[in-house]
């Protein structure tokens, strides 16, 4: 047991859980007034459902020794069997804490995934989808990348290098972002969205959400060191610098075309945070600045394309998390420092590292997109994904929850 590591991971786990509320508020501010309660409730519902599923079997599927040729973990830890006070194998932190830390990652991933459901999903449809997505997409992918699944060994044997994903650039961000795109294609655009966008109902709420995310991300990335050491410290500094440079880069690029919006700056910060996620403990801190800049620019143009395309991936999980997640994953293969990552990035001639990143990224993105597309089609057919037209017009807060977000009288 490593008490100092435990002290930090206790705090880090709390921070990652807070990120779920960060996402909820970030998204909640971007929707119309009549849907904000629902937008927040989706994240809350998803976290609640996946938490129970995680205890029942999710953790085990992701982190128990492989079965089915490395497709998922077995049921060794199902119902939290054997999860107790002693350190989780390979770490210095108690098993129960490790379960909670990883659970918080799953919860954040599902919160990000609420984006394409915004302002039109039925609560039942979403909840069923979220539960199945956790089992069919999240937990297998986590197993492949982090749990000793087939991807790691396949890539290693092909390229001679391990795929690097420090804190979930692939598992969390690329997977949820590309899934969001697939879901948006199935669920279809919001009604009334003829060319014009809907203005966000509360930008301060969105900026508060961004603040909570920035804050929580320190737990996400520096916590992934699972230690209170230099790697954690370096990951924390890199995380902050990537966020700051992402915010600056998006601000500057959008300034060239008009005025720098605050939501844009916040999105740039998120893109930077996403992109540094796979890299945080593997690159030297200075590298986080180009990473943040590149990610923000990539997300900016992805978002512009998404708007032109007419695809209503409403809150841009794809453009921000998906694209910056992929960008970050690839750039990790460029900037990885041998001292930190155990294998040099392309910048130091490390071709195997970039190849490993490329292959693992393609596998995760393709699997997440395809599986989410099919799953969304299936859920649509069986339980339905959308509310009825009148319910959408009157707003989901009233129709799904019987609530109005803001009272109109004093």
């Amino acid at each position: 047991m490593d008490p100092a590591a435990t002290a930090w991971v206790l705090a880090a786990t709390s921070l990652v859980v807070l990120m779920v509320f960060g996402v909820a508020l970030f998204y909640g501010g971007l929707v119309r007034r009549k849907n904000v309660v629902n937008m927040i409730a989706l994240s809350l519902a998803a976290m609640s459902v996946v938490s129970v599923e995680w205890a029942v079997m999710g953790f085990s599927l992701a982190f128990a020794p492989s079965v089915l040729g490395g497709l998922v973990g077995g049921l060794d830890y199902a119902l939290l069997r054997g999860v107790g006070l002693e350190p989780f194998p390979g770490t210095g932190v108690p098993s129960a804490l490790y379960v909670a830390f990883q659970l918080a990652f799953a919860a954040v991933t599902l919160a990000i995934l609420t984006s394409p459901f915004a302002e039109r999903a039925s609560l039942t449809g979403f909840t069923v989808f979220a539960l199945l997505w956790a089992i069919i997409v999240y937990q297998p992918v986590a197993h492949w990348v982090w749990g000793g699944g087939w991807l790691d060994s396949m890539v290693s044997s092909l390229t001679g290098a391990s795929p690097l994903d420090f804190a979930g650039g692939l598992v969390v961000h690329a997977a949820s972002g590309f899934s969001a795109l697939a879901i948006a294609l199935v669920i279809g655009p919001r009604r009334g969205l003829d060319g014009r966008g809907f203005p966000p109902h509360s930008i301060p709420m969105t900026l508060l959400g961004a603040g909570l995310l920035w804050f929580g991300w320190f737990g996400f990335n520096a916590g992934s060191a699972l230690a209170a050491d230099g790697v954690a410290g370096s990951a924390l500094l890199s995380t902050h610098l990537a966020a700051a440079s992402g915010a600056l880069a998006w601000g500057l690029v959008s300034w060239l075309r008009g005025r720098p919006s605050s939501v844009g700056m916040a999105s740039g910060a998120l893109a930077g945070l996403v992109a540094i996620t796979p890299a945080a403990g593997y690159v030297e801190p200075w590298a986080s600045i180009p990473i943040g800049v590149l990610a923000a620019v990539a997300s900016y143009y992805a978002l512009a394309w998404r708007l032109r395309s007419g695809i209503d991936e409403s809150l841009d999980a794809w453009a921000v998390h998906g694209v910056a997640g992929v960008a970050g994953s690839l750039i990790t293969g460029v900037f990885a420092s041998e001292a930190l990552a155990g294998q040099p990035g392309l910048l130091w001639g490390g071709v195997p590292t970039i190849m490993a990143q490329l292959i693992s990224t393609v596998v995760v993105v393709v699997y997440a997109f395809a599986a989410s597309y099919l799953l969304a089609k299936a859920v649509e057919a069986v339980v339905g994904l959308r509310v009825r037209e009148e319910e959408e017009y009157v707003g989901l807060d009233v129709s799904q929850h019987g609530e109005e977000a803001y009272a109109w009288t004093e």
Partner: protein, 109 residues
């Protein structure tokens, strides 16, 4: 000059704006109101407590317009605001005694 006052559904505002614009009526003033008519209202629930909301969100549009164009404006709003369901709203026309434009200080009617 007359004042046309229309109470419509929120989600029809864009349609009404467009319909008026197409006919060349750009001037308008709108505000958020709550209304009830023959509709039943909705019941909301907070922590188990039922709160009856019988005043539902509506938009009030006010257009000041010369007498001879009133019919056109009424017609445009009527069509654009219509959904056929209870709660579509009302249009009222009120007489106006005088009107001024502040910028030019001119009297319009």
């Amino acid at each position: 000059m007359m004042k046309v006052e229309a109470i419509i559904r929120q989600e029809r505002l864009e349609h009404v704006k467009k319909a008026l614009e197409e006919r060349g009526f750009t001037g308008m003033t709108v505000c958020q109101v709550r209304g009830r008519g023959e509709e039943a209202g909705i019941e909301l629930e907070y922590r188990g407590q039922i709160v009856k909301v019988d005043l539902l969100p509506r938009i009030k549009i006010e257009v000041f317009i010369d007498d001879e164009k009133v019919d056109e404006v009424v017609q445009a709003i009527m069509e654009a605001a219509w959904t056929g369901n209870p709660g579509d709203g009302r249009i009222f026309v009120l007489p106006v005694a005088r009107a001024y434009r502040i910028r030019t200080r001119e009297r319009l009617a």
